[in-house]
Amino acid sequence: MEQRKVKCRKIKRRLSVFIDGEATPELEGKIRDHIKSCSMCRREMEELERIWNLIENVSVPEPLPHYYTRLRANIRSNVRPRWRFKWEEVLVPVTTVAVMAFGIFLGTLLLKNHDQLALESLSNGSEELTYLYLDTFDDFPDASLVGIYFNNGEQENNKEAYIQ
């Protein structure tokens, strides 16, 4: 009984292939032999065939007339001649890259000139630009608030030591 159920399950799974006419001759023979003696599988096959035939009866309207004329018109309006270079597809990205490159170049040039000026100013002893250079990175430049604080603090300490 269990074996029969397994066999029925296997046959039912292949009924679709059989109905579609895609079964191998061997499989077709096995299915035909089985459904001769198995009413359940035969009924299943008949139902599937009827459903498959039923869905064929769904009508589809005809395409609109003069479809080729419309197609040619659409092709003419949508298609660029194959030999023509697509300028607009190249121009925008090329222009963008060119503008960015120019901007980077200009920025580099300006920064270089700025540094050049700063160096020259330093060698001329200009006080305005010294804040750009190494004394900027001193822990507490003398003129800074912290520098004044600590310098005063040192003086106070020295005073106390002197008094003592």
Partner: protein
């Protein structure tokens, strides 16, 4: 002349060859699209798009695959894209429902035979049942039942194995049996 030879002529700029291909495949492609979209305007638009793409691709055509599998593959993909767009716009159900309702109401108001009305209603039920299938099962059903492709050809269009096609059709038939059993009893 076979399709490959025609396409070579199209590649060389032969418009007559292109017209021959369009005349041969326009209706099957259109019907395939219509079965997905259930809308004449959309089916027309997608079909036109398929052949515009074929025309554009002709310059680089190499006869590797069968022409109709190429056409059907584009048609299936474009139709599925259109359905996805519709869902996003929440357009299809109202429009189709309206069209369906109008169709059925018109039939009822006319003094036509009951059989015709019943057939029309059954067609709508069948269409809805097919539309309710998952996209891959629906594609397999349409290509097998209406375009009469073999399992091998369907596997080329859907870019899957033959056993996958078998499985899709088996499951689709089971689902359709559940939804349409009352029509055959």
């Amino acid at each position: 002349m076979d399709d490959a030879a025609l396409m070579v002529r199209v590649r060389d700029g032969d418009d007559v060859a292109f017209k021959m291909i369009v005349d041969k495949y326009y209706q099957p492609v259109y019907q395939l699209c219509y079965r997905y979209l259930s809308n004449q305007e959309d089916a027309e638009e997608i079909t036109q798009d398929v052949f515009i793409r074929l025309y554009n691709a002709a310059s680089s055509y190499e006869p590797r695959a069968k022409l109709y599998t190429f056409l059907y593959r584009i048609a299936v993909n474009l139709s599925l894209n259109r359905i996805r767009d519709r869902k996003l716009k929440r357009f299809i159900s109202l429009e189709t429902l309206k069209n369906n309702r109008e169709g059925v109401m018109d039939m009822r108001m006319q003094a036509g035979p009951d059989k015709i009305i019943e057939q029309k209603e059954n067609q709508e039920i069948i269409k809805k049942a097919i539309d309710s299938l998952p996209a891959s099962q629906r594609t397999a059903v349409i290509l097998k039942r209406y375009n009469e492709l073999s399992y091998e050809e369907i596997s080329e269009v859907m870019e899957c194995s033959i056993s996958a096609v078998e499985s899709l059709l088996h499951r689709a038939k089971q689902k359709l049996k559940k939804k349409l059993n009352h029509l055959i009893k």
